[in-house]
Symmetry: C2
Subunit: 345 residues, 2 copies
């Protein structure tokens, strides 16, 4: 019987529909764009699932899809965001992040060079955070049926022994600590999108917080809650915490760190910095006696230099967040309705 060689594959410069069809062009995309950056012992198995030792103990599992627009912005890109965001969602649950999946939806026509830059960023961010991307999937849709690239990352981590944090565990008396300036990520994306002139001075804060969280938990394993204030910003996150724990939260506006450029841009656009997404910040609810210790550990870390005690948990007005303004008056920090900054993450 006669056996001929498969026809040679054309080299493409952009994503083709066939790159997502599970055939030879899918394999080519793997080899040319993904494997050079992401290769590891898990992906090398070529099976449809990654396998590794479970436990002992408890684990955490989380998922997020990233649809940020534009996909490149000052301080980062969608790939970094996808890795750091999921790492952070595990870390604020008290877990040590370990394994990530990556699911891509690509628009036909996306430049392979851009895809490769994004994948390279993901590999670097994963390396920095100490996690491995162990399984993945790529789909391609026709031009005009998605906006360039969407990335889902799901993640698995193992929960540190003795740590038990939840949005339901806030207690009256807890100190509310914020790890740094707010609004940087959302404003970096927003001003880039709007083409505003001060865009270059505002950079996304995207960062993996698991290192800093590990240092905090080393000294205060019993803290009550951690959350990264992403979509909806500090306002949404604190409202969720207050509501889930049936407690009130009181903030002091003067203590909340906001960069001058961010404050200016927010004023110009008519947006409250408290509602803007962050991608490298965290909120903590900590027993009052531990607040000073936590603050000093965080301030010694590069991602916590501007950490501040911004308020406290009270038994009063459960489910509500109240802010004391510089003028001594009070205002409710409401759960944002939505829609001010679409596609920020």
């Amino acid at each position: 019987m006669q056996i001929s060689c498969p026809a040679p594959i054309l080299q493409h410069e952009t994503v083709q529909m066939a790159h997502g069809a599970g055939g030879r062009l899918s394999q080519e995309l793997m080899k040319r764009v993904f494997m050079p950056h992401l290769q590891n012992a898990f992906l090398d198995q070529l099976d449809d699932q990654a396998k590794f030792d479970a436990g002992p103990g408890r684990m955490a599992f989380t998922t997020d899809t990233y649809v940020v627009s534009p996909i490149f912005f000052p301080g980062g890109n969608i790939g970094e965001l996808a890795v750091n965001g999921t790492v952070n969602d595990l870390a604020v649950g008290g877990a040590v992040p370990r394994y990530l999946s990556a699911g891509f939806v690509l628009e036909e026509g996306l430049a392979l060079e851009e895809l490769e830059r994004i994948v390279k960023s993901m590999a670097e961010s994963a390396m920095t955070a100490g996690v491995m991307i162990v399984c993945g999937d790529t789909k391609v849709v026709q031009k005009g049926q998605c906006d360039r690239i969407f990335i889902n990352t799901s993640g698995i981590g193992f929960i540190r022994e003795g740590v038990s944090v939840s949005c339901r565990y806030l207690q009256p008396g807890d100190a509310i600590i914020l790890s740094g300036t707010i609004g940087d990520h959302g404003m970096a994306v927003m001003t880039t999108r709007a083409g505003l002139s001060f865009q270059s001075r505002i950079r996304s804060d995207t960062a993996a917080l698991n290192g800093m969280i590990g240092e905090v938990l080393d000294v205060v394993p019993g803290l009550h809650a951690m959350r990264d204030p992403t979509r909806g910003g500090v306002a949404a996150t604190l409202n969720e915490l207050a509501s889930s724990s049936s407690v009130g939260i009181e903030l002091d506006e003067l203590t909340i760190p906001v960069r001058e450029e961010v404050r200016g841009a927010a004023e110009l656009l008519g947006i409250d910095p408290l509602t803007i997404a962050n991608e490298g910040k965290m909120l903590l609810a900590v027993p009052e006696a531990d607040a000073a210790t936590v603050l000093s550990v965080m301030r010694a870390h590069e991602y916590g230099r501007d950490a501040a005690l911004i308020g406290k948990v009270v038994a009063d007005h459960p489910g509500m967040v109240i802010m004391r303004t510089p003028y001594g008056s009070h205002r409710i920090v409401e759960m944002p309705l939505g829609e001010q900054l679409p596609r920020i993450c």
Copy 2:
């Protein structure tokens, strides 16, 4: 101080940008569409990550994003597909599927009624497969920036003790077993999309195979490999198996079950049924001595009634799949290049 109630939320009939903004409308979408169907002890925690006991033993982790178009097709919809597909990717790895994540990208304007039908299907499919959807995420993009709905599901399962399967474990002499008719899913989607008149007679085979796989592994835990032939069909899957294990595969065309309607539609469209996606079928590589046992277990199961021995693994022509035709000649079953049936899953 005066505290007013939050303004009432308008009832919407379609997905709004604000439904993805992490604020009050996101919560409303959760309460109105997702929670009634997906509610469970994990999602009730309202944390950004699900937590559960790990191990002991080994676990499997997989991810897939579903972009099928149309989102409703004869025999199923994108939600069922998203649950069954990820369940199957775990099960063919020898794992008992347990926990799923669900990441949604919704197009502004999608009818909430349609979203709810999809979510309901996911809940039912998860229940049938014996898995729980334990964490999720919803993003909304502007009209025209995605095609109605994309769903990522990632999954975790615990590998059965004594089971070790991989696409690298095929050995010369192994029997190649196929669980049933091929091409049903891809052809159901394709004919619906093309508006062909015989569409109503062809239905997707979407199904969770973990039940049948469990029964097979109960009696033959030492089988070598399992794979579900989705994108690229049986042709792509067998080529991957042959290549990963550096063995040849020989098929007998007459033994491969294809429904008459599927064969007819495939001929009309000029597509080889071997390259069409399946969503409820599996291929197994089994030591020859166990083939009859595996076949009888599968044929007793509703998803394996048409199971057939379709070929064998040989030491010859490593990496190549060769088919004996009804006329006694041989042809190479090539790895498909791609692109015949975009957005099939």
